[in-house]
């Protein structure tokens, strides 16, 4: 990605005192929130349900508007630029279109010329290793493959920011791990900025260069932690003491935020061999 390397790039995503409530008298979903994210960061967002993780992504994508505060994405108000893509919890593929046409859907909405559309579609399908399934229909694919198509559809936009809302949550663990590794490999080549909402501490630690732990009622940032696992990360990374230590540490922090567990002693964390 063409970022000037000599100067520090400006924050790509910036939130200043952003709040969100649903309805004029509804409870606050997000307390005043300040956050800055730099280009190329891979930020994982963890937190109990009701902490506003998904709301945060919807605000950034422009699908929802903040109740107050300032929000800028690539220097624009959310929803103003073409450089953001969203990967939903479900693959949300259109079942009547084959894989190739699904990947092209968002490009078609932008009325992109066919040649450019084809180029991007083929590149995105190659990235997720589904080039040979281009003419298959979603119902013929496995859950993991469908999520890959969903990812390819987002990548075909050639985004500078990728918002991922628990994309691998419904997959079995092996598929989930493998997709995580592939996602990281693509990220290391393309260096888009990622905001990845997940419930899995292990997944967050493996993927992220930074983890935000949100607390609920109202949603706020409880911890903002850099994850300094050495790269390139691979399946072996999951076996290193450092990784296991981080997972244990973050699980404990997350558990401490849960009011039902706050009083009791921290449960025994997995110990490194």
């Amino acid at each position: 990605m063409p970022f000037p390397s000599s100067i520090t790039p400006p924050s790509q995503i910036r939130l200043q005192a952003v709040t969100k409530r649903f309805g004029p008298t509804g409870p606050e979903v997000l307390a005043p929130l300040d956050l800055a994210i730099d280009p190329g960061e891979f930020v994982a967002i963890l937190g109990p349900s009701g902490c506003g993780k998904s709301t945060l992504l919807r605000l950034l994508s422009g699908l929802a508007a903040p109740s107050s505060g300032q929000l800028s994405v690539n220097g624009h108000a959310p929803g103003g630029g073409d450089d953001l893509a969203y990967v939903f919890q479900d693959p949300t593929l259109l079942p009547w279109l084959n894989v190739a046409a699904n990947v092209e859907t968002l490009l078609r909405l932008r009325r992109m010329p066919a040649a450019e559309r084809t180029r991007r579609r083929d590149a995105a399908l190659a990235l997720v290793r589904l080039s040979d399934r281009a003419s298959a229909y979603p119902r013929q694919l496995s859950g993991g493959q469908r999520m890959r198509v969903s990812l390819a559809r987002a990548l075909a936009l050639e985004p500078r920011i990728l918002l991922l809302d628990e994309p691998f949550g419904a997959l079995d663990e092996m598929t989930r791990d493998r997709l995580g590794e592939e996602l990281l490999a693509i990220h290391s080549r393309q260096r888009w900025t990622a905001l990845f909402v997940t419930h899995s501490v292990a997944e967050a630690v493996f993927l992220a260069s930074r983890i935000l732990i949100l607390a609920a009622h109202p949603g706020r940032i409880a911890h903002d932690l850099p994850i300094d696992l050495p790269g390139p990360r691979s399946g072996e990374t999951r076996l290193t003491p450092k990784y296991l230590q981080l997972v244990a540490d973050i699980s404990a922090r997350l558990r401490a935020l849960d009011p039902e567990n706050a009083a009791s002693a921290p449960a025994s964390a997995p110990v490194a061999p």
């Binding site: 699908l63 969203y86 949300t92 009547w96 078609r108 909405l109 229909y137």
Partner: protein, 263 residues
């Protein structure tokens, strides 16, 4: 493969049993009551005896049924687009749409005769009234039953209303449209036949199966009456088969309910 063959055969096996049962029942009745279940041979010879009349009546009923059905299918798309466009329009118009289906045809019939006179136009209007409702209800439902996340996807892609309609809502509504089409395909021929009975004419040889049935029943030609009923059924089956084939061609590659036979 064997079970598939069996599935094809079963309705025919059942038909054979039914005919056999009919014939046995016919033979077991006292001679004076046998006209209630006429000899199958006499029903088949009724086809021959009244061949030209039955053929022309079938053609007339098929034509009026298709016209009313086609009209209903076309206008239902427009009506569904209107209804799906706003919930205010929906709550305003829906009771009237139901009323259209609920007013008994027996009451509409004399009014239609007053308005447009007896004959084909009245028959087509009755057929339309009968087959319109299931189409509109199903298609509107389809246009509205798009997943929230898919709408979000389109909103985020800054799709125009037209793009959302053509690329998302219309294809999503297709299975629902075909469900409505199948129900209406059953109703339309029966509707056209009944309408012919109520608002048809006998002038100029332009009458359908309804008038034909009326005549046969007046002349007490029971076997010919059964032959007329069989032709009405055949029309219904033909239309349903055509619609099912169209639905399969359109949907089998993506919609689960149409692709079971592939496995």
């Amino acid at each position: 493969m064997n079970s598939r063959l069996l599935r094809w055969c079963l309705p025919f096996v059942f038909a054979a049993l039914l005919l056999l049962g009919w014939q046995l029942l016919h033979a077991s009745l006292p001679a004076s009551r046998r006209f209630l279940l006429p000899d199958l041979a006499r029903i088949f010879s009724a086809f021959r005896d009244h061949g030209p009349a039955l053929l022309s009546a079938t053609r007339y009923t098929a034509l009026t049924a298709l016209t009313g059905f086609g009209l209903a299918a076309t206008l239902s798309v427009a009506a569904s687009l209107l209804l799906a466009s706003s919930s205010l329009i929906r709550v305003t118009l829906y009771p009237y749409l139901m009323a259209l289906q609920m007013v008994p045809i027996i009451i509409i019939a004399p009014i239609l005769i007053l308005w447009v006179g007896p004959g084909a136009p009245s028959v087509v209007i009755v057929t339309f009234l009968i087959s319109f409702f299931p189409l509109v209800v199903n298609t509107t439902q389809g246009l509205l039953s798009v997943e929230r996340a898919q709408v979000d996807l389109f909103r985020m892609g800054r799709a125009s209303r037209w793009q959302e309609l053509l690329l998302l809502r219309a294809p999503a509504a297709l299975p629902y449209f075909f469900t409505g089409l199948r129900i209406s395909a059953i109703l339309a021929p029966i509707g056209a036949l009944t309408a012919d009975y109520l608002v048809g004419t006998t002038t100029g040889g332009k009458s359908g199966l309804g008038i034909t049935a009326l005549l046969f029943s007046a002349r007490n030609e029971i076997p010919a009456l059964y032959a007329t009923a069989l032709l009405g059924c055949a029309l219904g089956f033909a239309l349903v088969a055509a619609v099912s084939a169209l639905a399969w061609l359109t949907l089998h590659h993506w919609h689960d309910s149409y692709s079971a036979s592939e496995k």
